[in-house]
Structures are given as structure tokens and as C-alpha cells.
């Protein structure tokens, strides 16, 4: 354990500003800085795609199919003669949108359900929890395929499906946290000061239960990205000719024997982005760990 530094009893230092604390955290955690930097760069690329992409994403050069990297096409061309780098750049916003949409849906469904189930408790909890368990027992991709089947194919529907699949995980996590937090004395104390139940849920239980959810969300972003790739690979996701990393990987897979290098670019993009989300989640887990005192 760390040594305990004896402090004078009544020194009240004003709390350091949020910005200052944030900077200190950044300095102490190079992994977080790198992953945030990477994700910000990706966001910038997504926004500036039309400006920085060397070619329009759907321009075909039929004289140059499955070309290896060259000066004209840094990452080569695909089976329809489209510039891989340009498609990678145009695919970034689709892939990011897909991950965030899925996680947004998961949070929107999972967090309120978890809060409600955990707070109400009793037989309502019993029944709801069994229902959530039943949802969890489906293989995620199969459930996503089923939902996509019901909603129709397309990137947005696919990611709604992925979000729906993630929601029970978050609901369970939030429920467990709510069970812990709702028995805390400060919840009773707040009631003793005249707070209403919605107020207690919103102001005391949610903020105290949400920290592991924030971490889980960053990890879920990575999984959602992979799910997008998987669903696009199964052509349930983004529809041609729109570019997405998963879709590119799926196409490249058809030519794995002729042009294996086609897989590298989208594969690396998915890998690095998922890694960045994961690293960010891990850093946030450490930063938000309640056993590490905020000062």
C-alpha cells in the first residue's frame, strides 16, 4: 500500500478546476492520450473526407483492378478499380456512425431499464431480470440478424439491431449497480431531506451507478465496430456502393487468393480503432475507479 502522508487537519484547498484535473490525468496516462488522439484524428478524417480523399469513393478505373499500392493509388485499388485509400477515408464516418449509433441505442434502452428494475426490485425485478437473461441467451449475431430481418437491411437498421443486442448487458450492469447504490445511506438521507423518488433516481442513483457504464460504453464501441464489420461482411450492414470498413473487408475476402493485400487496409483500420476504443475504456476504468481518490 501507499504510505499515508499526514496532513494538517484543517487545510481546505479549493478544488482544482476540471480542466486542470483533466490535463493532469492526460499527462499521467499516455495510453489514453494516444487513443483519444487517434479517435480525434479519425473524427477529423471523417468530417474532412471529401477534402482529403484523393479520389471520389465510387469512381471506377476499369483498367486498374485489384492493383497493388502505387504512387497513384497509395493503398491500391479494389476489384472494381476504386481507390482503397479513398474508400477507407469515406468508410470512416460510416463505421464511426455505426458504432456510436449502436451504443447510443444500447444506452438508451439498457440504462433506464436497469435503473427501473434495480430500483423497484421485488417481483418486478425477478420477472424483468429473467426476461433480460432470456435475451442474453441468444447468440448476439443471430439476434442481430433476426432484428435486421425484421427491420430490413441497411447500416442504420443493422446498428439498431446491434444496439438492441447490447442493451441487456448494460441493463444488467446498471441493475446491479443500482442495487448497490440504492441501499446507500445517502439515498435514505436524501429522502430524509424531502427529495422525491424521481429526484433520488436521477440525482443520486444514476450518477453513482453510471461509472462502470461509461467504461462499458467505450468497450462496447469497439465491439460495435466489429459487429458492423461482421454484419456488413454478411451484407446485412452498409449497402453497396457506400463504403464501410466491414464491407471492404468482405469484398477483399472474395479475392484473398489473388490479392491478399486487399484485406490489410480495412483490417488494420478496424483493428486500430477497436484497440483505441478499448484502450480508452481501460484508461477510463482506472481513472473512474472509486478506490482511487479524486483530488
Amino acid at each position: 500500500m501507499t504510505t499515508i502522508v499526514q496532513k494538517p487537519a484543517l487545510v481546505i484547498a479549493p478544488r482544482r478546476g476540471r480542466a486542470a484535473r483533466f490535463l493532469r490525468w492526460m499527462r499521467s496516462d499516455i495510453r489514453a492520450v494516444l487513443s483519444i488522439g487517434f479517435l480525434l484524428a479519425l473524427l477529423l478524417i471523417s468530417i474532412l473526407a471529401p477534402v482529403i480523399a484523393p479520389y471520389p469513393p465510387n469512381d471506377q478505373n476499369v483498367s486498374l483492378l485489384l492493383a497493388p499500392p502505387s504512387a497513384g493509388h497509395w493503398l491500391g485499388t479494389d476489384d472494381l478499380g476504386r481507390d482503397v485509400l479513398s474508400r477507407l477515408i469515406y468508410g470512416a464516418p460510416n463505421s464511426l456512425y455505426a458504432s456510436f449509433l449502436a451504443v447510443f441505442v444500447a444506452v438508451l434502452l439498457g440504462v433506464p431499464v436497469g435503473l427501473l428494475v434495480g430500483f423497484v426490485g421485488g417481483w418486478f425485478d425477478e420477472i424483468s431480470s429473467r426476461f433480460i437473461d432470456a435475451l442474453l441467451s441468444f447468440p448476439p449475431i443471430v439476434l442481430a440478424i433476426a432484428v435486421t430481418g425484421a427491420l430490413g437491411i441497411g447500416l442504420t437498421n443493422a446498428m439498431l439491431a446491434v444496439g438492441f443486442v447490447f442493451a441487456p448487458f448494460l441493463a444488467r450492469l446498471v441493475r446491479a449497480q443500482t442495487l448497490v447504490v440504492k441501499s446507500a445511506l445517502y439515498v435514505d438521507a436524501s429522502r430524509g431531506f424531502g427529495a422525491s423518488t424521481p429526484h433520488i433516481i436521477w440525482r443520486h442513483i444514476l450518477p453513482n451507478a453510471i461509472q462502470p457504464v461509461i467504461v462499458q460504453v467505450t468497450l462496447a464501441l469497439a465491439v460495435a465496430l466489429l459487429a458492423e464489420a461482421a454484419l456488413s461482411f454478411l451484407s446485412l450492414g452498409v449497402q453497396p456502393p457506400a463504403a464501410s470498413w466491414g464491407g471492404m473487408l468482405a469484398r477483399a475476402y472474395n479475392y484473398i487468393e489473388i490479392a491478399p493485400e486487399q484485406m490489410y487496409a480495412p483490417g488494420m483500420a478496424i483493428l486500430l480503432t477497436a484497440l483505441a476504443f478499448n484502450a480508452l475504456g481501460e484508461s477510463m476504468r482506472v481513472a473512474l475507479d472509486p478506490t482511487m481518490k479524486r483530488r
Binding site: 487537519a9 484543517l10 481546505i12 484547498a13 479549493p14 478544488r15 421485488g122 446507500a184 445511506l185 445517502y186 435514505d188 438521507a189 436524501s190 429522502r191 430524509g192 431531506f193 424531502g194 427529495a195 422525491s196 423518488t197 429526484h199 440525482r203 443520486h204 450518477p207 453513482n208 472509486p290 481518490k293 479524486r294 483530488r295
Partner: protein, 354 residues
Amino acid sequence: MRQTGAAGKTSRMSVAAAEPSDSKHATTGALLDVRDLCVSFRDDAGWVPMLNNVAFQVNRGETVGIVGESGCGKSLTALSIMGLLPRRGCLRTGGIVFDGCDIAGLGERGMRQVRGRQIGMVFQEPMSALDPVFTVGDQIAETVRTHFQVSPREAKERAVEALASVRIPAPAACATLYPMNLSGGMRQRVMIAMALVCEPKLLIADEPTTALDVTIQAQIMELLLELGRRTGTALLFITHNLALIAESCERTLTMYAGEVVEDGSVEAMLNRPLHPYTAGLLASLPGRRAPKSRLSSIPGRVPSPRDMPAGCRFGPRCTFATAICQEPQRLRAVDNRRVRCARAVELVLAGAGG
């Protein structure tokens, strides 16, 4: 007002419920009038009575102490008054008249107007009674905004004033701190500030100093008493520390096994306790006898609520018990005091002086 309710479902309880209710002093000007409060909890075997016809009053500006061993129903009484009992598996009957209004009949919405605004409460554990994710200033301001239509800015100002009133140095800076940045004593001050910020007429302090070290205990008690005097707030202390009551309260209620067994002025209680249980508590105070002599204690332990003696509940542990103690005891008046003991008049029990 006579209540039987579910508490009367067990035969033992029906005997107790048939006891003449002590509501002769019904509509006096008391601030808080608890009448025949009964609380039962349900377990697998049925309803278990936890509080049995608890009746007492607190006058405006008065300082009253409730004393008793752990498990006597002291905290349960406080939670009943606040309406903070669990909703499931719990039954409360009896009247709680606060400031002329029967708050026992109020619903959750009505109770919210009472809690914090009319009756404040300080909890035993200052370490966990504050929300760790908000600054203490935010939390006090939130309490202000629960009860008053004020701007966030004004709420914040009142929070800082409240922190200043509990003598926290640099209150404005303290308001920006999280609970974890504060020591136990400081947190209890914050709790007191939060409980008093809406200027309630009654403050219930449930073992406010138990979790603190002795030097801080004295400071917190002084602070509570001073604030009580200044604002005219009545104080209801719940404690197992008789010394604390002797120093600070005007009147004391002794509770045993879910019943009030003695009610009277602190002086009278210290001079001549009427109930053998109170005398036993006084005798077990250390410091009044020769050093290194054995500490005296009351033999036995509080009976389980499921297994109450049929007669006087203290009977099995009482050195003065006789045949008459096999009867259930009712609370009887003995010169301005009330006691639940048949032999109260004939026994002359040693007070704190002897």
C-alpha cells in the same frame, strides 16, 4: 385514539394493545406528539411487533434524549416519525401529530413537505450519508431548492451560509469539496448544516456523534445545542450514551424492548431513576467508581421481539422482579414523570450521584 391493527394479531400483543392508551394529554401545544405508535415487521412466521404503543411528546425548543441499548427501537422510532420505514413488510399504526397536523396519515407527497423542511434529520454515519459524486455545496443547495423556490445562485449562497453557521472555516472553499475530502467531524458538520438549512422546527439526531472520536463528539454536541438554542429548533437526540444526555438534554425517554419505560426530566432521572433499567444504565457508566474495579453491567440481553416475556419486558433481567412483574406493565404517572414499573414508587433506586 386507540389503534390495534396487525400488531394485535399475536396474542401477546393483544394484551399489550388492550392497555389504556396514554393520550390523556391529547391536544396540548406540544410540537411533536407521538401517540401509541406501533410498528411491526413481517417475517416468515408472521408479524413481529417492534415498537409497542410508544407515546411521548416534544415541546417547542425542547431538547429531549432517547436512550436505550441497541435494538430497543430508538432509531425505529425516529424513522417512523420521518415516515422512512420500508414500504414492504412493515406496518405502522398510531398517531404522530406534528405542529397540530397528524403526519402519520400523510402520503409520500405530503411527507416530502415535512421531511427536511419541518423535521430535519442527522444520521449516525457521516461517512456514508453524503453522496460521494457531488460537492457538499451542491448537496446543501439541492436541499434548499427542494423546499424553496430560489435561484441556483441563491441556493448556493445559502449553502455557504449554512456551512459558515456550523463553523466550518473557509465555507466557500469547503462548498466546492467532495465528501471524501472531508474528515468525519467535518462531514457531520456538513450534515448538520444540511439538516438545518431549511430551518426545521424539529431536528432528530440519530446517534450524531457515535461514529466520531471523543474530542469531536463534544464539539458536535455543543454545536447542535447552540444552533438549537439560536434557532429555537427542538432537538430529539437518540443515543446510547447517557453521559451525553445528562450534559445536553432537558428531558429523557428511556426505551426498552420497543417500549418507553421511563419519561421525565434529566435531573430527576439522574437523582432517582424510577425504572430499574434506567438505574442499570446509570450504574454501568464508568468513571464513578474506584479505578480498575469491575464495570457493572445489566445481566442478560434485550429479548428478541419474537420472544417477548409475557409480563414486564425487563422482568427477566431485573434484580427487583417480584410476582407482580409477571403482569404486563403499563406506563403510569409518578409526579410529572411516567414509568413502566409496578414497583417504581416503593423502590428507591440509586441515581448517578450514588
